[in-house]
Symmetry: C2
Subunit: 200 residues, 2 copies
């Protein structure tokens, strides 16, 4: 039997998430009403509740899905010699985050709008990613490939520096994404190199 007219289960769910992602990033979670999300999708506000239990869960799942995808995508960067792994991580972080401006923005800016339980889960995922970089630095120091006074501080500094690219880089500017990846890798390389020297 044909589907009831006006029924679009397979596409409405993803469209709600896509609209919420963009609107939350542009205006903020608290400033975006369920009615505005519904209008963007082309349904009435009540229909949203066929797909999401409430607004809070919608926010939480957007953040969780982003971080889970990040953790899966970073895996290929963890093979090879220490310096190659770090370079791969730097280039990956910049490219992955540039391709997901809205999700990155939300994952950083809307933490305070999560319930305590949801906040704990998101912070756990973020901590795993930060720990990943710290482990890379620890192994490089152990190998003698890197010289870093405090790998926890260095990993936080590097992640902040790389994520900061999203605040100013636009693909139509004077630099390509490849230019930016190259320059950031040079800066990170200098930061962690033994004796402050970088071999050519």
């Amino acid at each position: 039997m044909a589907r009831t007219q006006g029924s679009h289960a397979e596409i409405t769910g993803p469209r709600i998430r896509a609209a919420a992602l963009r609107l939350f990033a542009q205006q903020g979670y608290a400033a975006v009403s369920m009615r505005v999300i519904a209008r963007e999708v082309g349904v009435q506000a009540g229909a949203l509740y066929n797909y999401i239990p409430d607004k809070q869960t919608l926010l939480f799942e957007l953040m969780r899905d982003h971080l889970v995808e990040l953790m899966e995508a970073v895996r290929p960067c963890l093979d090879g010699p220490a310096e190659a792994r770090l370079e791969a991580f730097v280039r990956f972080h910049i490219a992955f985050h540039h391709a997901r401006l809205d999700a990155v923005f939300i994952a950083y800016m809307e933490l305070r709008n999560l319930t305590p339980d949801n906040f704990a889960e998101i912070e756990g995922l973020r901590g795993q990613y930060e720990r990943l970089l710290q482990d890379q630095l620890d192994m490089g120091v152990h190998d003698g490939a890197f010289a870093v006074a405090d790998t926890r501080i260095a990993s936080m500094a590097i992640i902040a520096m790389l994520t900061g690219v999203n605040t100013w880089f636009r693909a139509d500017g004077r630099l390509s994404l490849g230019d930016v990846q190259e320059m950031y890798w040079q800066m990170v390389h200098r930061m962690v190199s033994v004796g402050g020297t970088v071999s050519p």
Copy 2:
């Protein structure tokens, strides 16, 4: 003649700003109502409008005052040889921002809640501060004190790295603020030094 009972003009204004600063930082501008601010101060919502024209202006002035204070406080860091100026800037940025967690948070997170005119003014002030660091790097490169491929990129990277301290550093942790200032200066020093070498 004695002041009307219940009248506290001199202290209510600053208390409104202090309460708004803290609440906006904790919950976000859009999530904080005028009634909640008023309750925090200990007055009724209507009384707030003796001190501020509207909620938007309250947010704008908090951000503007923070950035104006930042621009004034950074001035003493701009004297001396290139390397000393950069070290002073690094230490200053970390200390100044650590002492103003709420204002820094708001100045970064609530930009999207400003009207276009107010946004332009705030972005102008932030741009002045970023340009200040870039000028320092330019002068150091010109002197031969620094080797930096792109001073604009390097200044954005350094500011993001330094501001990121606010996301994880707490004074009761394993490191003192002085420890952190020292380690970040070492990392920045390595990043900008000629030939990637750092003299002892």
